[in-house]
Symmetry: C2
Subunit: 262 residues, 2 copies
């Protein structure tokens, strides 16, 4: 099974993209709603939670791990890679590779939570992928609460997005990475405010495409993971009332959620 | 010692009010930053966290517990009272008593997190304290993130506050309870938008006054808790970088924070 974890339900956008891109590969998803959000927590705490989440997914039979949470990917992926022999994919690398390839001017913007931006993970990997690039990043801590409120089209959301994007617009970026799984839900608010000509990269879509190319190249892994008769499972460490609705919205169908301790 | 817990640093407004109101009574504070915020979590999860926090404070020598978190007070205080013999004070009762006494028309408003409002705890206790009152409540989930961003005077904060308060204003309340420890920091934004004649009740101040009256009435408890030579201690379950600044802002002086597992 393909193990996927996130701090909440945002990472279900990644699960959904993988399901569409790689049909027949069962998923085991863990949303750590009991400790969410990870964005404002310390790197040590995010690493500890990511470690526990990975242990849980391996116990459930995961043979490959996708870190669907940008805050976890940016602070805990080196630890997890050094600690486990399984293949570990995170949401950062595929988005970085796409941005480095697609940008014409090399001026690339990143938006994310405070933990993601402060970690410098996107900047470092972009500099490695394309040393001539000029990276501009902006923490947008209010966007996750706004999405979770469902304020996708409110005037306040638009003015807050405009305020956050203003410095990136000033730098005339030509590519913007949405470095948080919640942000694709705001794409229609973000696009006109950053400028219609700016390429917007959705890390959920890129990680699914990256996984697809890994499976294509690795016959052994493909055989190990392909199992169209096993259904996907979705676990959460807490079950507050709005979670079912949000999961259903992301998947476009009802999703059976199972509660578990992590 | 007086034990105080909150999901984060917001409850330090309660600790500060108690320190000013009851000098010479050492405090032991726990901010559960590793699991904050409690507002969007399920009642079962909030109760479990509150239980663990109380155990921790008792191990540190607390002889009385103050639940400084409204989400915890509204969902977990009955459990804690049935489970422990120690006196347990929460932020809700004193604010309710004050509102019931001060309101002329009996039309009382409450604002808080989703967990606090959904629990109905304020409404139930207000109806008990004053059966003729008409209670109007409003969840304001974006205010905590806005305060934690330090956006206390931003235009966006003002329009969001106005939007949240609009239904309460329509109901012509004459008293408004700030049912979240973060909200007093927005008092200057809230007051003109709800109307200058509306009494605003700060639950932090009321809980400190309530504790003072309990100590005045109970000589044994006073003797047990009074200990001007023991310094107060402040624990957090995670130490993300902005926490020192926020704690210092609330106390008006540097505060030594100790990290602990809960």
């Amino acid at each position: 099974m393909i193990g996927i974890f996130d701090s909440g339900v945002g990472g279900m956008t990644v699960a959904r993209a993988i399901e569409q891109c790689c049909p027949g590969y069962p998923l085991v998803y863990l949303g750590d709603l009991a400790r969410m959000p990870y964005g404002p927590k310390s790197p040590a705490m995010i690493t500890e939670y990511s470690h526990r989440n990975t242990e849980f997914l391996l116990r459930q039979g995961a043979q490959l791990i996708v870190i669907a949470c940008n805050s976890a990917a940016s602070t805990a992926s080196s630890f997890l890679r050094s600690h486990y022999s399984q293949t570990i994919i995170d949401v950062i690398f595929p988005a970085v590779a796409k941005a480095a390839a697609i940008s014409t001017t090399g001026r690339i913007g990143i938006i994310g939570t405070r933990a993601t931006i402060n970690s410098g993970a996107y900047e470092q990997r972009l500099q490695m992928a394309r040393p001539d690039c000029e990276v501009h990043s902006q923490a947008c801590p209010l966007l996750v609460p706004l999405v979770e409120e469902g304020w996708l089209n409110h005037r306040e959301t638009k003015t807050i997005v405009k305020k956050y994007l203003h410095p990136l617009r000033d730098k005339q970026i030509d590519t913007l990475i949405l470095g948080c799984t919640h942000y694709p839900l705001l794409k229609r608010v973000i696009a006109p405010r950053i400028g219609r000509r700016v390429h917007i990269i959705d890390s959920s879509v890129e990680v699914a495409l990256h996984l697809k190319s890994i499976l294509k190249a690795d016959a052994e892994l493909r055989t190990q993971l392909y199992d169209p008769d096993t259904p996907s499972r979705f676990f959460v460490s807490d079950m507050p009332s709005p979670v079912h609705g949000l999961a259903g919205t992301i998947f476009g169908r009802p999703v059976l959620l199972e509660q578990t301790d992590v």
